[in-house]
């Protein structure tokens, strides 16, 4: 069937686009969260950390269900969507991004938080005695020293979003070119017994995952400060 190859490629492009946008958003949103969690000393920090880590243990269907309600006219999503005349954020790319951001948040925040914690207080105290304002200290000392953490978080967030299924299924609506990402496409092909296409996509994703993990291990080795 000749309509197939473009369909395949569209879902691949869509997946990569979703993963890229989600990763960027998570780096922007997750870094301040990771920073506050790393620097906080009270017990409330663990409460907040647990909330962030919730998507790690929640079944995607549970998350997807709550997202469906939240993105729709009965939730805040409807209110936001009405700004540009739509009724709901579900079935749209922005809606998917929101879902992916929630779903992959712990995978980005956790490594960055650990990296900031590993930096410790001392370098920042040194920076303060050297007249660096807290902002300057953050950008010139904390962030470079936490570099591998950012890389890990970005790669994990990207890979995790590529593999996302349950959430997209529940709030995506399976629209080709808009919300039909690779994982949903594979599910579709399997449901309709199109084994060849399913194999191509699944095999591709497996290879991708392997390359990601390998690349991360190699990069981490070379980038850790003070590494050989």
């Amino acid at each position: 069937m000749d309509g197939l190859a473009p369909d395949l490629m569209t879902s691949v492009e869509l997946t990569l686009e979703l993963a890229a946008v989600t990763t960027v958003v998570l780096l922007l949103v997750g870094t301040p969260i990771a920073w506050r969690l790393a620097r906080a000393k009270g017990w409330w920090a663990e409460v907040a950390a647990s909330l962030v880590a919730l998507p790690l243990v929640l079944p995607p269907t549970v998350l997807g269900f709550y997202l469906l309600v939240a993105l729709g006219p009965q939730g805040p999503g409807g209110a936001i969507a009405s700004l540009w005349g739509a009724r709901t954020l579900a079935f749209s790319f922005p809606g998917l991004v929101i879902g992916s951001v929630v779903y992959s948040m712990p995978f980005v925040v956790q490594p960055i938080r650990n990296a900031f914690q590993a930096v410790g207080d001392r370098p920042l105290e040194v920076a303060a005695t050297l007249r660096a304002s807290p902002t300057r200290a953050f950008w010139t000392v904390a962030v470079p020293l936490a570099g591998p953490g950012f890389l890990t978080g970005a790669v994990l967030g990207f890979a995790h979003t590529v593999g996302e299924f349950g959430i997209v299924l529940m709030i995506g609506g399976n629209i080709p070119g808009r919300t039909k990402v690779m994982s949903v496409a594979i599910y579709d092909y399997v449901e309709t017994m199109q084994w060849r296409e399913a194999n191509i996509l699944a095999g591709g994703m497996a290879a991708f995952a392997f390359c990601v993990i390998l690349a991360m291990a190699l990069i981490e080795r070379r980038l850790a400060p003070g590494a050989r």
Binding site: E46, L68, T88, A90, Q117, N174, T192
Partner: protein, 293 residues
């Protein structure tokens, strides 16, 4: 000034930044907090896990011989549950129901899923099951005829065919046409009315009819094609029962699968399905019966 003997030769205090970091990057990345599981709590976890697995295995093994695993098309969810309850009261056998889109269920059956009875939403799949050797021939029969409905949660959104023509909604939900017959019926309806191309950009697909229903129920899609049976007991919103001449009849076939061939309880379930109590339930949910044409 007080007498003060300065004789401090304390050894210098070596301060190390002690970070307990696992050696691999994944471990580091996912290291939730600094307190890694101590060996003891890890052992405890393992014991609990093993116990849980054993228990589940035992439970499965001790499944009574009169349990009947049934694969049920999603649109028949509600009536199937009632029928299973009536079946249990009457015969003492337990029908264990699994729901999904007909296509998906069929795929599972071809992959050796442990179902003994298949209640599909079309004829094609059960026939294919017989042809491919997964089902017992002559056990095939039509257990219900489905009705397609265009439904909206808001009370004035759906006003018959005109709604589709006006197309003033943002999104219309259907279920996957290749995997579920109701989806195919919805597409057929739109094509018959010559509106498919116009409505195609507004389509959202649920994986099965339950999901399509969820899209409409949560308000994310203003209207959607669902099964009439899903609206049983729900008089809210607005609906248009699609006239039968707009789509091929959704004849829903049931069949005994090879895995249930020697199982009396499975055959008993199918027999019950044909019987008067089951018919009453099926009718209540808005299904038709196959009238010999």
């Amino acid at each position: 000034m007080s007498k003060y003997l300065p004789n401090y030769y304390d050894p210098p205090v070596q301060k190390f930044a002690s970070l307990r970091r696992p050696d691999d990057f994944l471990g580091r990345a996912l290291d939730v907090g600094a307190t890694a599981a101590s060996k003891e709590s890890l052992m405890r976890w393992l014991r609990v896990l093993t116990a849980g697995i054993l228990f589940a295995a035992l439970a499965a093994a001790s499944a009574k011989a009169d349990d009947v695993p049934v694969a049920v098309a999603a649109n028949f969810t509600a009536p199937a549950k009632e029928i299973a309850a009536a079946f249990a009261t009457k015969t003492g056998h337990n029908a264990v129901l699994s729901f999904g889109a007909t296509g998906g269920l069929y795929t599972e059956i071809t992959q050796d899923a442990p179902f003994e009875v298949f209640l599909a939403a079309d004829e094609a799949r059960p026939k294919k099951a017989v042809a491919d050797g997964f089902a017992v021939p002559d056990s095939l029969f039509v257990y219900a005829v489905g009705k397609l409905v265009l439904w909206s949660k808001s009370a004035d959104a759906v006003q018959g065919e005109a709604t589709l023509r006006a197309a003033s909604f943002g999104r219309i939900a259907i279920c996957n046409p290749t995997a579920a017959p109701y989806g195919a019926a919805a597409v057929a309806t739109m094509q018959k009315l010559g509106l498919y191309d116009a409505l195609k950009p507004k389509l959202v697909q649920g994986a099965d009819i339950t999901q399509a229903f969820q899209f409409v129920d949560s308000g994310n899609a203003e209207v959607g094609f669902v099964a009439l049976s899903q609206l049983a007991g729900n008089s809210g919103g607005s609906r248009w029962v699609v006239p039968q001449d707009l789509y091929p009849p959704i004849k829903q076939d049931a069949v005994l699968l090879k895995k249930g061939a020697g199982h009396e309880a499975a055959k008993a379930f199918l027999a019950f399905l044909k019987g008067p109590e089951a018919h009453e339930i099926i009718e209540k949910y808005g299904y038709d019966f196959d009238k010999p044409s």
